[in-house]
Symmetry: C2
Subunit: 115 residues, 2 copies
């Protein structure tokens, strides 16, 4: 897979996203990362391998602890990919602000101001 | 899967991301979407089903054409999930701006100003 697809695939799992959220607060060992989850250490290791392959984390070389560290570069690539689309919803909000009547006119179902 | 995982999984494919980029320019039929890709119509349909299941696209009801339309809400959810991480790399750049010497000091390999 291409790197961006690798990243998005790695992010497509709630446990892996929770691991990254934990690592956003600082480095952690595999045991520390496994603690909040109801999964086995091998289960966590499998998730870490997928995150490491996508370069979303790196592992320290300090003896057997090998603390995990978040690497933000692939997340910045996702952020960059979203840029073109972000203008779409920003434009949409801009139009709503410029022509607020448009929203009301298309909103008959919830218009409670009518008698 | 949870909705955000569905979205990220659907995005983890370069053809599906290219389809979304095309739809960012406006609605398109399956034939129009298939044209730039070297894959069969059934192949494109399979991608569209994955995008539709993740609510990234909706299909029109106009006879057999059923034009596809981009739906940005799931992309906004990805954007929202990135928010906490975005502060990490913004903080990093802020530090580099505040202490520009730090970058240079750690950048010996590419420092060509030395004799």
């Amino acid at each position: 897979m291409d790197p961006l697809s690798d990243t998005l695939f790695a992010l497509a799992d709630p446990t892996r996203r929770a691991i990254l959220a934990r690592l956003a607060e600082g480095e952690a060992t595999v045991n520390e990362l496994a603690a909040p989850f109801d999964i086995s250490l091998p289960g966590v290791s499998k998730h870490l391998k997928i995150l490491e392959r996508a370069r979303l984390i790196s592992r320290g070389r300090t003896a057997q602890w090998r603390p995990c560290r978040l690497e933000t570069a692939p997340l910045q690539d996702v952020d960059g990919w979203l840029t073109d689309f972000r203008t779409l919803w920003n434009d949409h909000f801009d139009r709503l602000e410029t022509y607020p009547g448009t929203m009301q006119a298309n909103d008959d179902d919830t218009d409670r101001s009518k008698p």
